[in-house]
Amino acid sequence: MNPETKPDAVVERMVLLARQLGSKAADEKRERQFMATLSERVAAHRIRSARRRQFTAAAVLAAACLGSLFWFGRHVEQRLSYRISDGALGDGNIVGHENTSVAFSDGSRIKLTDGARARIGEITAHGARVDLVDGQVSVDIVKAEGNAWFVQAGPYQVHVIGTAFDVRWLKEQRRIELDLYRGSVAVTGPHIEGQLRLQPGQRLTSTPDSPSVVTRAQPLAAARSASASDIPKITAEQADAGTAEPAVADLSNPIIERHDSTAAGLTGWSRLVAQGDFERVLDAAQKRGIDNVLAAGTPAELAALADAARYGRNTQLARRALLAERKRFPGAAAARGAAFFLGGIEADGSAAALGWYETYLAESPAGPYAPQALGRRMMIVHRRQGLGASAPLAKEYLKRFAQGPYASAARKILERSAE
């Protein structure tokens, strides 16, 4: 091989060679056959071309159909299904016996006690509305994004967000009792302004004729033997104002979201939020213009918008609404509470979240969210600054909220710091 032979020279030489191609004489026999059958061939070619076009069009159509099916398959949501075990039907209601339960296809389950009557009022892809006609049901809802589960008991509605609780509706007395074991629920109804959010371990007792009472939870079965007067109680109003001396320090502080019923109030966005219809609130705000609502909305509207955005996981809008609440109504209870929620929507364990919890605790040391705010502050400090820095907060927490949700964490911090 000659190493001086350049690639271009190779190509040039091969091009010259290639130019010799195509000089072969035509194959007369094949030409003659071609010309002799030209009419038929042209016709056949035309048919072939038409078929090819039809096939291409059909393929495109089929692809479009498949694409649509695939899209719909992903986007059209299938409603949940459910199966009733060991129950009977009467007057359209499920009548509970010893082991009656309703199992939903997402894993959620409702158990009816003996004699309880309920019906599945409405079922969607994200949940259902259970109408509790009378008696007690135990509800265990699998937590999932976009959940929309409701228990309707007379005039009360419990919005369930992935949780387990017992709820009893005494039809004759028009009385609701709700024990929350895990997760969170929001209750709306008579004498509950806006919505009442309960924490695990809390019991709500309410009748339309008297103030709602939030107490430390007892299993309803055990509570049956105790009269209502035996249970230490505070009213929701007392708890919100922080004036009550609770029988059980932290658990008797319910999370109450107050909305101004004189403005948008219960008949407007607040009610929609209470019903879990966050989308409608967000849509309505969009129609009016988010900036307009933030600049000129009533306190109730701002609060409802912030809640709807938070529940709808629109963090950015929630932050704007909460900041607007604080800016426009400084000193108001809702504005003080907004600091707590702002801490919740900041990144978990971030300095920003810590700052908001400190702000809330400074502004509302005995506010309804104080147990959570102090607990979260303690956890963030522990994570960011270590045991030494978090130990004083743990001590303070146990002193103020000995049975609060962060009590066990506080004890662990103190135990480890003592080692």
């Binding site: 091989m1 000659n2 001086e4 032979t5 350049k6 690639p7 271009d8 020279a9 190779v10 190509v11 030489r13 091969m14 091009v15 060679l17 290639a18 130019r19 010799q20 191609l21 195509g22 000089s23 072969k24 035509a26 194959d27 007369e28 094949r30 030409e31 003659r32 071609f34 010309m35 002799a36 059958t37 030209l38 009419s39 061939r41 042209v42 070619h45 035309r46 071309s49």
Partner: protein, 227 residues
Amino acid sequence: MRAPPLAFRHVASPQLRLESAAGSPSSTAPIELSEATDAELACELQAGAPGAARVVWLRYSPMVRRMLARALGPERDVEDSLQEVFLCLFNKAGELRNPASLRAFIVSIAIRTLRREIRRRKLRSWLRLDGNAPVEDLRAVNPDTDAREALIRFYALLDRLNSRDRSVFVLHVIEGMDVEAIASALEVSVPTIRRSLTRGRERIALLAGRDPMLVDYVSKLERGVLP
């Protein structure tokens, strides 16, 4: 700048009246048509004049055959592709808006057919459905076995280009078509064709320079070892 496409008009293709007389095509062409200009011939073809298709075949099939043969290489039988080009032409004759551009119209059909054939053969090659055809065409013009082997190697390198780069390289470098005509036939811009040409040239030079058999063959030619 985008090369102007060939002028087509969208009219129903007339039903061609094509003779099916046996015998050599060249012996039966009407004299007046064989002497007609491209524009006149195209009009006759569109009108379905008897003999027009045959005259078009006689006038342009050698050019198209050569173009296809040079583009597809020595191992390929081009007769099927050649017939495909003319069947397509006879079917689409009604779409030719400017009869004077008959030649360009045929070239554009030939290039499209060529690209389709390259893609089809590449697919068959990937699927290992392509048998080894005899090297009849080259054998007819060049009895030198070294040259035949070198040319086969060269076209194997061309097979490694994509269909557009290969078509542009062959049509411009081997066939001698100008880039404007190629751009017009492919309905792409002249710069696109230039880029395609540069890419094809560079890649082929690179591949050819690395092919020991080709380099050896050419160096022998340069040293006068081979005729």
